[in-house]
Chain length 191, copies 4
DNA sequence: GCCTAATCGAGACGGTACGTCGGGTCTTGGA
DNA sequence: TCCAAGACCCGACGTACCGTCTCGATTAGGC
């Protein structure tokens, strides 16, 4: 009396096509940014029919989200460094995030990620939790002497959000500013 | 000693057309969000030729930026309230920003603003400085006992950025979370 | 030893769309003349995407040429009548060609055909060979007592060209003039 | 009791502008053909406001017609040569007309003239009477031994029309064909 | 020497159509 | 059943011209 997976005949989903699509999406995203990313372009580049994309993903944002999830977009996650000075480490890492750029059009990659997030719920969710917050949490937790909870989440959002806001406003983000940000959020350095 | 505007004969720019375009852009933006905003749609709604838009603005983002600058988008700026409890006031105002919504498609207005900012430098600049930061500064300055400078800027970016990041990730933002955010950035409440 | 059509999978050309386009083109051409014939108008009338036209024809002239080839434009070919008086028969038929008119704008259909021919090589070729010369040849051959060859071709061009030139110059073409033309080209009537 | 031209003050029509417009129209027509001739282009090239064109001519066709009338388009009228062999002279002259070409796009000038005629009554009238027929009449009259009248007109139309029809159909017009045409229309050579 | 009126250059305006791109759906034929 | 290929309808893109209009400057009579 168990629920049987309803049996299906015919070929199953082609893993090769899936990978080709994700690779093509990542490459085109990096080259031209989110706005110029198109389903047709992905299909062309991947050597795949458009329908094969539409069959499995509802939108270009979700293709991207899956690529992000599998770590294809930014390569292996950058760890926050550990030099003994938690504030400086955090500032360095945030600066790296801020200056993420791979697009041939000179568009910041971070800004493209934000555009993708604005357009796709799934991408938005993953941008925050997996791309940005995940590598940050451990170090931030130690820097704040806080095991977790709302304060830690709030601090992570504050740091990352500030970086995003600066990226959106196309303003320079001097390292002094970055340190000031860390101080405000993490707390003043102990004497 | 003065810069002479080079004199040109011929008809001057039609203010009526300019206003019709900005109004149409604001209305369509509010109704359908940034992604579904089109130059053709604006022109149609405004009763204007497309060329009249392209003549004066390079992209839909810049039309929107001008509308924002003139305060057409959100109406008169919301002031941060003053109830005597600066933390609660800030939290209330941030919550209002977070829940900004006018779109018929259920798209958050804040998310559309972020999309617009990702696509247009001018909009990005104004989103941060005029829409978000401006009404916040005075109250934040008093709450932090800080006259200005990098710390104040960093705090504003942190608060607003956190709100944006949450909006992008489509997560609920409980009022307790909001208070935690304010505490982390502004500092703990005095005993 | 035969040329293989390279096999292609995927949908084939829609005959329904092709016919709808040709019908729409013919109708609009007859109604408004060649100058006011537009690809957009054809697409609209045919209930078809513009791209479907551009996919198969390089220009509006070539759409028209195909319609002509299939006899859609002027209906079944008018035969030159046979009353026993070859000169009068030819004159009557030429007069009918001269006065071809279907356009709602009062533009002569012949003039529109000439405009189409000036704009499209294919239409030009067909105007001469299929629309005009074909029904004429048999009768002309008998009237001149000539089995064919350059003299017959020249005579056909002379008759039809004269009619076209008069149509272009918007001059009246009295039946006496028409008879004079036939006499000059075919030769004087036998006594 | 005559009709007085109603007295007007103010500047009179600028002859310089008129000439610049006609020159520009002729140059652009020769370079790009009738289809690509535009009022804006003429105005730009002539250094003239569009209104100055619209003030004096109803359409581009009429600008061209005026240029033709003043002999700007084809330079001084080519005379039919006189070598003693009227048939050969006529054939040579008709061949010259047939091969008229000045356009940078490779479009035959004759075909552009036909397009212009199809679009503008005035141009059509002048194409036949002034450009084509006028230089032909004298020689044709002598070749046919005919002082004028419907037969002469018909012969002229037949010769010129045949050349036009061949030009429209983009067919080669061998010199033997041309001689056959002359024979058919003018009559067989005397023995 | 004004005034009036028309001309001229320039070009903004509301439109229509251009030819292209991409969206999302549907239809083949092959595996 | 999936896949590649791609035709289909549709809507938007950004551009070119249309014909009308409105400017400021200029230029000729008529007073």
């Amino acid at each position: 009396m168990c629920v049987m997976a309803l049996p299906r005949s015919g070929p199953i989903r082609s893993e090769a096509a899936r990978l080709a699509i994700l690779d093509a999406a990542v490459a085109l995203f990096a080259e031209h940014g989110y706005d110029h990313l198109t389903i047709e372009g992905i299909a062309r580049r991947a050597g795949v029919g458009k329908q094969t994309i539409y069959r499995w993903w509802p939108s270009k944002g979700d293709v991207l989200a899956e690529a992000i999830l599998e770590g294809r977009l930014l390569g292996p996650q950058r760890e926050v460094p550990d030099t003994g000075d938690p504030r400086a480490d955090l500032a360095a890492w945030l600066t790296e995030i801020f200056t993420l750029r791979a697009s041939a059009d000179g568009e910041g990659l971070l800004r493209s990620l934000v555009a993708a997030s604005a357009g796709s719920a799934e991408t938005g969710r993953r941008l925050r939790s997996e791309i940005l917050a995940a590598p940050l949490m451990d170090r931030l937790s130690r820097a704040m002497g806080d095991a977790g909870g709302p304060r830690l989440e709030a601090a992570a959002d504050a740091l990352l959000g500030a970086v995003i806001l600066r990226a959106l406003s196309r303003e320079h983000f001097a390292s002094a500013d970055m340190l000031a940000l860390v101080d405000v959020v993490v707390g003043p350095p102990p004497r």
